[in-house]
Amino acid sequence: MTIRNTMKRAAAAAMLAGLAVVFAAVPAQAQSRTGSAAAKAETSEAKLDVIIFRNGQKVECEILEETDSTVKVKIAVAGMVAETVYQKSEILAIQKGAGAPVSTAGKPAPRSTTTGRKPDAKPEQIATDGVPTVYVIRCTGEFGRDVSATPFAQVIEDVKKHQPDILVMEFDHVFGQYGEEVPDYLYQPGSFDQLETARQLSTLLTDRIRDDGDWPKKPRLVGYIKKAMGAACFLPFVCPELYFHPDGLHGGVGGLEHMFDGVGDKVAQEKQYSLRLKRAEGLAEKGGHEPRILRAMARMDFVLSYRMVGGKAEFLERMPETADEFLLADDGEGDRRDGAQERLRYLGNDVLTLNAVTAEKIGLSRGTVANLSELMYAMGYTREFTEVKGRSADILKRWSDDVNRAEANLQRLIRQFQNVEVRAPGQYRERTAARTQQKSILREARGIFMRYKEALNPRRFPADAAINDIDVIIDQIDQQQRLDGPP
């Protein structure tokens, strides 16, 4: 059995979908209009352009200006008309004149909520009165522990239920690893070990939403950075639009090129740095961001400056040479090495740690906003909006509590296992009971390891090794029982 997929079929489906929209939109009395006059009226009417973004979002707008890298458009949101610029790297396709007719007042029509909807899709949950809906996933705690694949998949399922117009990923993480907090001014190259978690979550946030047919309306994905340091630094890069809190910090993964100092050969070390860095940079490219920003965050020996050209940052892989060039990260060599004073105040530049001002200057951040209202306004939603009250906070909180409880329980079970004693009179029956108790404890611990292994502190609870050990120990206990035998 194969899945048939042809352009002809797709075109036919699109046409049918388009017809459905037209029928739904045209008032009953207008349907009686027939003949050439009506046809003429339609053909002579200017149509809006349609921009399809890589994240699946479609926008109907009027294209004002187009360069090699940007498209300037006029767009109407919630009745307000505004001009905005999109990066072409975020855009999958531009369909000129493929949108709804421009209204008689010459203003673009509001963004269609049915655009891109499949004919057989489930009804959307549209907010009353066309007010845009926003779902905020507030990621707190430690990335990879409090926010990991299992709870995040549940959160995405909850978002799907609400079908918001906008999905905001708020990053406000503790800078830490394995439950131990790290001072903001320190580097944490070991954060790259959590890169795989970020890669996995990124597919939930982007590909799964894009490919899920039960998700008829793809939300506009926006990242809002309060604190994304260390392992939390990577995931924001997949968000095509990023905004910063005034106190926002982004980075903390410096010193990658020293991660394996003293271990093995230099060429093998470089291999390890290269694969980690480029996998991370791949996330930045996926989000449409400049990958060298991430490189400057990670490698101390990478020099990056910028200058403004036509209102846009142009990056230079060298030290600034003129007054209109600005340093982002130097090589940290000799007297360029950051002192404690600079690092403590986040003024160091051996590696790049972005704050709101710099992030906005270099174009990674689209704006600096203090709260959700300001964020929505900055995104062009100049009037009211509705924040969906989803369950994400509960899901993440429960997971976080469960992980803490799991680690406490594992410690308790280890103690219990060590303290299992054969009761008096210590005969076969008592020995059997003790072994049964030991196996019961081990099975409970195995269950905890299996359920929470993605989030447990690998230094204290190395799950994969522990699960294997438990299987071997249980077998050993069974053997002891066989050899003991009844009297």
Partner: protein, 415 residues
């Protein structure tokens, strides 16, 4: 993240590949290669490109193909009947190109679990990702009338010994039958090298490929003859994939690399330094991994495609069918089974070893027999795991001989 195992068997595989190269050289050798170190080699320019030459040299009765970068060469005196260069063979890719008649039937096979599997299994080449399984998938693809195969790669690397097997499977089994293209999420180390003979690489937006340095243990890089052999092996794969070998070389060792894109023709020239080319691709002292953006800009990658449909369009098709689901399922199932076997192997081995040791100490014959029976059960489990992937035997030192020894050991315990 990546495991590359140093092994004698690897050396033997590579030596075998080199022997094949030697055997294939039969043409007259009449060019002269003058090197900057003063040597003058007689032979034949087999292939050359921007910044490199493959030169076939006669050493005694043997002919050997060697690779030189342009900075090593002083001049070339040519006496070949026909100029060397990229000599495209009438290959399957061309015959099965976008313009070929009927609707294309495209299969996507996973080389390593995609990230969307959420880390369900590991992705080691030679363990989870098996060349043997890819060979066995060919009849399933043919049965379903598949015309095009997409090798969707997401793997952090693996065993060097699996490399030649994969190169042979793709070159000999896939390329003659199907238009075979790579679609890269992440192809690191052996995962980049295994499909290197494919001529078309496409990328996911987050795609990356490279970091092919071989190492064993605690980052001990392969050196000496073994390194040279792997470098040569990949030069051959570069030739098969019709791409400049400097790219792979920069992925394997700290080979600087730069490139220039001709503004008129768009042709990319590669240079083994960071000064000649306009674009620094691999800085001095680093190992190259390309991301999707630069890979496509430098025409290493054909296009970036985020979805299967985008990929099919990027491959030049307007009409196509997704096919080969049985083969896709077979490969996925094989990866899952190999992963399970890899994780069970150590436990099964420990259970077997301990049971056998304890059995040997039991005086009572009946009880000893019972324990030997259990030990034999564990040994059979190990054999079952062994049969799924012969690399386990190599990794854990349990080959046929080891199994025979264990059978004998259990018999001795029962005496």
């Amino acid at each position: 993240m990546s495991r590359i195992t140093h092994s004698i068997r690897t050396l033997m595989f590579t030596l075998a590949a080199v022997a094949v190269l030697f055997a294939a050289a039969t043409q007259a050798l009449a060019d002269k290669l003058h090197l900057k170190d003063g040597r003058v080699l007689d032979g034949e320019v087999v292939r050359e490109g921007d910044g490199f030459v493959f030169f076939k040299v006669r050493v005694g009765s043997l002919e050997q193909e060697q690779f030189f970068t342009s900075d090593q060469i002083l001049k070339i005196e040519r006496d070949s009947a026909a100029p060397a260069g990229d000599k495209p063979r009438p290959d399957a890719a061309k015959a099965k190109g976008p313009t070929a008649g009927a609707t294309k039937r495209i299969a996507i096979l996973n080389f390593g679990a995609p990230s969307s599997w959420q880390g369900e299994i590991d992705d080691t080449v030679g363990i989870q990702v098996s060349a043997d399984a890819w060979r066995k998938a060919v009849p399933l693809l043919e049965k379903d009338g598949v015309t095009d195969v997409v090798v969707r790669i997401n793997s952090g690397g693996g065993l060097l010994l699996e490399l030649q097997r994969f190169l042979e499977v793709y070159e000999k089994e896939y390329k003659p039958r199907f238009r075979t293209v790579a679609w890269v999420e992440s192809a690191i180390s052996a995962a980049a090298m295994s499909p290197w003979c494919l001529e078309e690489f496409y990328f996911l937006p987050e795609g990356n490929i490279g970091a092919c340095t071989g190492f064993s243990g605690r980052l001990n890089a392969i050196k000496g003859v073994q390194l040279e052999l792997v470098l040569m092996q990949m030069e051959e794969a570069s030739k098969q994939g019709k791409r400049n070998p400097l790219i792979m070389r920069a992925m394997q060792i700290q080979q600087p690399l730069s490139a220039t894109i001709d503004p008129v023709t768009g042709q990319v020239s590669w240079f083994p330094d960071t000064k000649t080319g306009e674009i620094i691709v691999n800085p001095d002292g680093e190992v190259l991994t390309l991301t999707a953006g630069i890979a496509v800009r430098l025409k290493f990658g054909k296009a970036i495609a985020a979805t299967p449909d985008e990929l099919a369009r990027a491959m030049g098709y307007e009409e196509w069918e997704w096919a080969g689901r049985e083969a896709t399922a077979f490969i996925d199932r094989n990866m899952r089974e190999n992963d399970k076997a890899d994780k069970q192997w150590q436990v099964a081995y420990e259970k077997y070893e301990r049971t056998a040791q304890v059995a040997a100490q039991i005086q009572d014959r009946q009880r000893r027999g019972a324990e030997v029976g259990i030990a034999r059960r564990h040994l059979n489990e190990l054999k079952r795991l062994f049969s799924g992937n012969s690399n386990f035997a190599l990794m854990y030192g349990a080959d046929d001989e080891w199994f025979r020894e264990q059978e004998e050991r259990l018999r001795r315990i029962m005496r």
